[in-house]
């Protein structure tokens, strides 16, 4: 039995501890917002937070989550109110949308650690997240916009 919290809710699961956290989140917990893209920590589509840190859940065994607090895209905000989500809406960022959960989860850690990120900070934090549609220019703009919202006294 492996226990941890997901988006603030306690779960206890009978699961092979070597199973990647990604598949436990998607299949056992039914939270399909976290995506499978590569399985080898190359694309970032599976990014979640474990105790606030961005983790590629496709290569993290579920055992690593034991006793921790996991946040997925479904837990980023209950109502699209996270400044990044608001900025994503304003900049019309997603195209196909498949990578966007991972993009947002990586950006959320960046914004928390660097509330006014430079372009170099964005490069560093976001280069692990691939977007095949090519939404990078809009992601960059949206992160800057979210930072402005935070600076102006918006949420978080």
């Amino acid at each position: 039995m492996i226990g941890f919290s997901v988006n603030g809710k306690r779960v206890d699961l009978e699961v092979d501890p070597s199973t990647p956290l990604l598949w436990v989140i998607r299949e056992q917990l039914g939270l399909t917002g976290t995506k499978y893209g590569c399985g080898v920590a190359q694309c970032g589509a599976c990014t979640v937070h474990i105790n606030g840190e961005a983790v590629r859940s496709c290569v993290a065994p579920v055992s690593r989550a034991a006793g921790t607090s996991v946040t997925t895209i479904e837990g980023l905000s209950p109502d699209l109110s996270h400044p990044l989500q608001r900025a994503w809406l304003e900049e019309d960022v997603p195209q196909c949308g498949y990578c966007q959960s991972g993009q947002l989860m990586s950006a959320a850690v960046l914004l928390r650690e660097k509330p006014a990120p430079s372009d170099e900070d964005i490069d560093e934090a976001m280069t692990g997240n691939i977007c095949r549609c090519g939404t990078y220019p809009r992601i960059r703009k949206a992160i800057h916009r979210a930072a402005e919202m935070v600076a102006k006294g918006g949420a978080r």
Partner: protein, 731 residues
């Protein structure tokens, strides 16, 4: 989902030709898939009964719109949403004519039904950058017809002449009286649809032409958008398939002793695609699949190497090939040219590499079958699922989910990912989801074909281009499919191999285009911008080489040769002007330019690059696009940015290679995609135009590679003749 493309200017005969080819192809597809609907869909105002909400709570004036008593309006979209914005741009067309309140507009994927067939291609599908231009009249008429019914219902209620009523923001008005569309649902549902409707004068558009925000963003940023891979059914099992490591190989025998005993494994079965492991969860199926020991009959491709293949291509390019175009006498003009130059361009196989790997859910029952997948080819996929299931087509329902990227891969002529999932479902005895791992997806074939394109050109003593001879070698996309005969109409080449050079627009008096068709057992398919993805590279790089030969500026050289091509000239000038062509750049940086016509739109790019230690860095791309009358400039900019990045990824990084029949690339680490830190600044400038609407999903791709390659020449003096760019090999 959308893809835009359009019916070209009537003055451009090449455009018409291209349209016809695609149309033919789709007719054939239909015939080959079991006699489904053939021909064109004409818009008809008919009462539609598809899966509907409770009686009385809404009505459908026609197949494309449902109006609720709660004022919500749902637009039924017959193109797949794969990022290109069809769930927004097509509803905009309908909502504008309907005078709807945009905040009440929603979207819904259409079920598979002949009434949702592509109006040009004759089957239900998404491709060819055609969704918006082909849906333009269809969705506008649907909106106008619905509006007419609502006005008629209100006029009847008020006992006034319909002509004295007006509509605005989801309501009918007469003087000070007002009835909302929701209030009119019951009355309108009892009326006969109008025979004819008047469309708006474009000057009265309220939505069309505005950069409205996409309707599908919210669900894509909170995890609720449902892609094929997210579909979950009660009792569903998951399968992962061991597919041959070599194209054309087949299972000789397999040992599943270990795999069978692994946790969660339910069944292991041989299917035509390979060996399928069915388990409770993906991870269990994947681990057990990897534990299978399969012995393959390796087949004819066991010794296939791309390096040898390209050597063969080079040899073939030395001999004349089947003719595609012949203006004047290129050979004689070459012989008498003052100066001449030749170059051989080579591009590799490419993978579509959608972020969402292929997958398909099938729930097969005794007398019915339901399929959920991100399809670009609904009519064909449904027919193929029915064929494998042994059911009549009408017993199969196909549900289109969001597509995590398509780029052409999810319009497979053989429905490969649907067919194998249906095979697995037959054996599973439960609803089944087949998931391809990233490696399965990359190694599963259906690539953009590798091509070699040899060009010889000459100029006269004044520096005017007088001769051009293109000779291509590569695989046909159509050959070997059931559609080859009709698509190619007895031609010895595939039109999709030469699109983008067969219509060479430059004023050169002697032009020859030839194409050798290579027969190779690697499955190939259309990939975003298809033939244009390689012809634009060769053509636009060679034009630069001719300009250098004539000692002319590459932009001015093109201008001179495009004097009779105003739309080419328009985008070329716009891109050059916005990029500051001719203005000094910092040391170590250079600019390159390219212009191209594809999918009924004109595009030009200027790239600014630097080169450090042999590594190319693209700093800025300025893109000009003329797609005629446009619907949503925000989406056009997004598609152009994305297209430029897609093309730049291929130009800088991407190559599939085979050794001993085995693909050498497996994942993003060996087949890279451009990342945030490599992404240039991109500007898009749209030409204001009253021309017919053109496509936008693909036209942003072709110019990226030649603009970058030409910029690399400007910096280094080295010609790039092979993609991806490797400066150590450059000429």
């Amino acid at each position: 989902m959308i893809r835009q493309k359009m019916i070209g200017q009537e003055t451009t005969s090449e455009n018409a030709g291209r349209g016809i080819q695609r149309r033919d192809f789709l007719k054939v597809t239909v015939a080959a898939s079991g006699g489904l609907l053939i021909g064109f869909h004409f818009f008809g105002v008919t009462q539609l009964a598809s899966a509907q909400p409770p009686l009385g709570s809404s009505f459908m004036p026609n197949a494309f719109v449902r109006i609720g008593t709660d004022e919500n309006i749902t637009v039924i979209v017959n193109h797949s949403e794969m990022g290109q914005g069809v769930y927004t741009s097509l509803p905009m067309l309908l909502a504008d004519e309907l005078d709807a309140d945009w905040s009440k507009i929603g979207y819904e994927p259409a079920p598979v039904d002949p009434k949702y067939n592509h109006p040009v291609f004759g089957v239900q599908m998404t491709g060819g950058s055609s969704s918006v231009y082909s849906g333009l009249q269809q969705f506008r008429q649907a909106g106008a017809a619905a509006r007419a019914l609502l006005i008629a219902a209100a006029a009847q209620q008020w006992n006034v002449d319909a002509a004295t009523c007006r509509t605005e923001s989801g309501a009918v008005f007469n003087g000070t009286r007002k009835l909302t569309y929701g209030q009119l649902v019951g009355a309108a549902a009892k009326l006969a649809p109008p025979a004819n409707v008047q469309l708006k004068d474009p000057k009265d558009f309220k939505l069309i032409g505005k950069p409205l925000k996409r309707l599908d963003t919210s669900v894509k940023i909170n995890g609720t958008a449902e892609f094929g891979i997210d579909v979950k059914l009660p009792g569903m099992l998951t399968a992962v398939i061991a597919r041959p490591p070599i194209f054309g190989a087949s299972v000789k025998n397999f040992d599943d002793t270990r795999a069978r005993s692994m946790p969660g494994v339910r069944k292991i079965i041989a299917i035509p695609a390979g060996v399928a492991v069915i388990a409770d969860t993906f991870w269990q199926a994947k681990v057990a699949r990897d534990a299978l020991r399969v012995e393959w009959d390796e087949g004819k491709m066991a010794n296939f190497n791309t390096s040898t293949m390209m050597q063969d291509f080079r040899e073939r390019a030395k001999t004349p090939g089947p003719g595609v175009r012949k203006d004047g006498d290129a050979d004689s003009a070459l012989a008498s040219a003052a100066k001449k130059i030749d170059a051989v361009y080579e591009v590799p196989y490419l993978s579509h590499l959608m972020m969402e790997p292929l997958n398909c859910v099938v729930d097969l029952r005794a007398d019915s079958c339901e399929v959920w997948t991100g399809s670009q080819f609904q009519t064909v996929d449904r027919a193929n699922a029915a064929r494998i299931a042994g059911l009549p087509t009408e017993k199969v329902q196909l549900h289109t989910t969001f597509l995590g990227g398509g780029f052409g891969r999810r319009a497979n002529p053989q429905s490969d990912f649907v067919v194998e999932a249906t095979h697995v479902a037959k054996a599973a005895g439960a609803p089944i989801k087949v998931i391809w791992t990233r490696e399965d997806d990359m190694q599963g074939g259906w690539y953009r074909p590798a091509f070699l394109h040899a060009i010889e050109g000459g100029i006269d003593a004044s520096g005017n281009a007088v001769s051009w001879r293109s000779r291509l070698v590569g695989q046909s996309i159509m050959e070997g499919t059931p559609f080859a005969a009709m698509m190619m109409k007895g031609k010895a080449y595939d039109p999709a191999s030469v699109e983008g050079v067969d219509d060479l627009p430059y004023a050169i008096p002697n032009v020859t285009v030839e194409c050798h068709q290579a027969e190779i057992g690697v499955p190939v398919q259309w990939l975003r911008s298809v033939g244009h993805s390689h012809t634009a590279f060769a053509v636009e790089c060679f034009v630069d080489e001719l300009a250098a030969l004539a000692q002319k500026d590459p932009y001015q050289f093109r201008r001179q040769l495009l004097q009779k091509q105003p739309r080419y000239l328009g985008v070329l000038d716009l891109a050059a002007q916005k990029a500051g062509w001719g203005k000094p750049l910092p040391k170590g940086m250079g600019r390159g330019i390219a212009v191209h016509f594809a999918f009924e739109s004109y595009s030009a790019h200027v790239a600014e690059v630097s080169v450090t230690d042999g590594k190319v860095r693209v700093h800025r791309m300025v893109c000009a696009i003329d797609c005629g009358q446009y619907v949503n400039p925000g989406i056009i900019a997004a598609q152009t940015e994305g297209g430029a990045i897609f093309g730049a990824s291929a130009a800088l990084f991407q190559e599939l290679t085979f050794a001993n029949g085995r693909l050498q690339q497996t994942n993003f680490n060996t087949f890279p995609v451009m990342r945030m830190n490599e992404c240039p600044e991109i500007e898009t400038h749209i030409v204001e135009s009253k021309e017919k609407a053109g496509g936008i999903g693909e036209p942003g791709v072709p110019c990226a590679a030649p603009a970058i390659a030409n910029a690399v020449f400007a910096v280094t003096g080295k010609r790039i003749r092979r993609l991806p760019i490797r400066l150590t090999e450059a000429v």
